[in-house]
């Protein structure tokens, strides 16, 4: 299986008034062709920053080091002109907030057609727009295409933004919190939609979410983020059945079906991280080493963990 995306020691720093914020540190993972890789983590753990890095959409003030490779080609430390042909065409984004991510005064059909047009789809345009809409489960694509985004429900907007992202037939899709702010039914439909995408083995997806159920249901690999770091990475079965990092274990225990036991403490702000292991204040198996030394990234056999105990 070919590796479609490889992230190597990615560091993103934002200079702010209160010092430098390490939004993501030494992130390394890979996404294979046809796989869905899910990054889970709390708000502010640096998940979205990774998606933005892959798409070159970080704010200009960000200071970055590291490397992102797309089919063995460096795409991170290259100029905007070199990157431009990839964006939208090869790698596309399902944005975080579908309501705000649609142009409020452009008809739904046109928003899809625009992307199709720009990326020079050979097929006949209107037909394709309707096809895309009906493939997304819209019952009357003709009507939907003539309407404006504010006339759709949250779940429909979610599907529409997905349609826009898929219109150019990208090789890699980045989905930023696709179930955020959706009710139970809409969330379930979104999950179904991604499961369908998964059956179509061409698409690789990098999904960023804090929805553990979604990660377990549709993910092939999963990465757990904590305080801007990847603390655990591996196959979904492995990570969910035998979590190695105490944070992952705590997260799983906090799920309603596992007894809803909350983790003690709160995660540190990215501006004032503790010394040593960032998790040591909340760790149930905390060792003296963890208080002093920052753990390295142990990686092997498709499984990675950042903990002294391994």
């Amino acid at each position: 299986m070919k590796t479609i995306l490889e992230v190597l020691s990615l560091n993103v720093t934002f200079p702010t008034r209160n010092g430098r914020i390490l939004a993501s540190q030494e992130i390394s993972f890979q996404v294979n062709e046809g796989e869905i890789c899910v990054l889970v983590g709390e708000t502010g753990s640096g998940k979205s920053v990774i998606g933005q890095s892959v798409l070159h959409l970080l704010p200009e003030s960000a200071e970055v080091t590291g490397s992102i490779r797309y089919f063995d080609k460096e795409i991170f430390m290259i100029s905007e002109e070199q990157y431009a042909p990839l964006r939208g065409k090869e790698i596309s984004l399902i944005p975080q907030n579908p309501g705000g991510s649609l142009d409020p005064i452009m008809k739904n059909g046109k928003q899809i057609a625009e992307v199709l047009d720009h990326h020079k789809s050979k097929e006949k345009k209107t037909g394709t727009v309707f096809n895309i809409l009906s493939r997304l489960g819209f019952l009357s694509p003709r009507l939907i295409a003539q309407e404006y985004p504010h006339e759709l429900s949250g779940g429909m907007r979610q599907r529409l933004t997905t349609g826009i992202a898929l219109a150019s037939k990208p090789r890699l899709l980045i989905a930023d919190e696709p179930t955020k702010g959706l009710d139970y039914v809409a969330r379930k439909k979104t999950m179904e939609m991604f499961s369908q995408l998964k059956e179509n083995k061409h698409d690789s997806i990098l999904m960023i979410t804090h929805d553990l159920d979604l990660a377990e249901m549709i993910g092939d690999t999963v990465g757990v983020m904590y305080s801007g770091e990847l603390v655990e990475f591996g196959k979904v079965e492995d990570v969910f059945c035998s979590p190695k990092h105490p944070y992952t274990r705590g997260l799983l225990k906090a799920l309603p079906r596992n007894g809803m036991v909350p983790m003690p403490g709160i995660s540190p702000g990215l501006g004032d991280l503790p010394g040593g292991c960032y998790f040591h204040g909340r760790c149930d198996i905390c060792c003296s080493e963890g208080e002093a030394v920052h753990p390295d990234w142990y990686f092997g056999d498709g499984r990675g963990v950042r903990c002294h105990k391994y």
Binding site: L55, L57, A84, L86, R87, G88, K89, S92, L93, P95, Q96, N97, G100, S101, L102, D103, P104, I105, M106, E114, V115, H118, H119, T161, I164, A165, S168
Partner: protein, 298 residues
Amino acid sequence: MSEVWSPGNVRKIYTRLSGTDFYARLMKRPFLVLTVVLIGFVLVLSVFAPVIAPQDPNATDLYGKNQGPSEEHVFGTDYLGRDLFSRTLCGLQTSMAIALTTIFVTFFIGTAIGCYSAYHGGWVDNVFARIIDVFLAFPSIILALALITLIGPGIFNMILMLAVVQWASFARLMRGQVLSEKNREYVQSAKAAGLPAWMIMVKHIAPNCIMPVLILATMDIGHTILAISTLSFLGLGIPPSVPEWGSMINSGLNYMRIAPLNVIIPGLAITVVTLLFNIAGEGLRDVSDPNSDNTVAL
């Protein structure tokens, strides 16, 4: 053309328009509807002025100068015996032609510069913002006066100068709009979809920002008509052979005692047309703003 205006098509357009909030809010303001109708009337008048005018506006009759209203001359004649009514009508054409051209030019230049500057950001934006500030720091009519003295009078020069002094206010308004709009999520996702910058600006940002600028443009038509009349009143701008309200007032001033209508009629015309466009501009602002539903001004 005939297809567009076929009865079926017109009915279809009307049905779609009448379903919009915009239309509903417009219909709540009968005075605004009247203003819009009157502006339409003024525009038609200005286009067909030479045809409607009962007499040649430049035909002199020195035996019948400075006359009061009569059957032949509705508003009387001026100091050269020219028909005042015809001159006022043709003056409308002059004013509207110059004002609309100026507004079109300033609108496009101003919005383009404002949009580009704000979207690009960084030093480009800084440079443009300072240039805009400099232009806004001058009293516009004095700047226009100085520039026209510099390059000489004439209709084309007048349009050029009015554009030079007016583009900055359009650019500033557009820049402010785009600055707030460009960080919206839909702009980010358009970027993520790989659309080029010009396409994002023209197709997504500009349509979402344009309404306040359109309102400013409507109101500025009135101001421009006023500026044109001011400049011609001072003898700068329009050649004396072309009927224009400002220069008509200027020449009528000398005979104000014996033929007061020569000052009053063009003065009234300026007031009425300027007022119409100002009211329309404010009305457009109310109509385009859903929050204005409870505050019916006009």
